[in-house]
């Protein structure tokens, strides 16, 4: 491989690496949706079979 080709490859690699960093600046919508669902599950107690009354948790406690 000639030194010129090597230089070119290195340049391409550096450019690619910086492109990777750039990509991360965009908002990761799918990951955010997953995160939102996890938090909503916990706050509304939709999964977690252990925490019993998921539907009407306040029914017997407060008017």
């Amino acid at each position: 491989m000639s030194p010129n080709v090597r230089k070119l490859m290195l340049g391409v690699l550096v450019l690619t690496a910086s492109a990777c960093v750039t990509i991360n600046i965009y908002f990761p919508a799918a990951a955010a949706e997953k995160a939102a669902d996890r938090i909503i599950d916990e706050v509304w107690q939709l999964r977690d079979g252990a925490s019993a009354p998921a539907r009407q948790p306040a029914e017997g406690k407060k008017p």
Binding site: N24, P28, A31, A32, A35, I39
Partner: protein, 136 residues
């Protein structure tokens, strides 16, 4: 040159899939505290969602939908609940953006949550859609 192309393609696809499959950081102490506070408040809010007094707003907050369905004596308490919940929600969106090193994502986080709260609302609850209230 071909090898360079190949390396480039592999790197690009690897980084794209890393983002696509990545998770947002939501385990900071601040986020944990907010989750717990909201979870506790939910016990009081759930009956209000069910009765339609309070609805899931389109902007990621909750709102008083029908003041008439809340007895006058309890309206102050319900308003306080709504304010506290919305303060926690705003803080939650801000903290998630911050915990991931992108405070500027706050608006996007809020938008994502707004869609998911509406989507995940239980049957009988009221949600804001297209400017009006709709019962799930």
């Amino acid at each position: 040159m071909k090898i360079a192309h190949l390396v480039c393609a592999v790197l690009m696809s690897a980084s794209l899939s890393a983002v696509a499959q990545g998770n947002l950081e939501i385990d900071s102490p601040a986020i944990g505290a907010l989750k717990q506070s909201m979870q506790q408040r939910h016990a009081q809010l759930a009956p209000l969602y069910q009765s339609g007094a309070v609805g899931i707003a389109a902007d990621g907050s909750v709102a008083l939908r029908s003041a008439a369905s809340v007895p006058l004596a309890q309206r102050g308490q319900v308003n306080a609940l709504i304010s506290a919940e919305n303060a926690d929600r705003s803080a939650l969106y801000r903290e998630i953006a911050r915990a991931n090193g992108h405070p500027e994502w706050e608006g996007d986080v809020r938008k994502t949550f707004a869609e998911r709260w509406v989507q995940r609302a239980q049957p009988g609850w009221w949600v804001q859609q297209g400017g009006g209230w709709v019962q799930k």
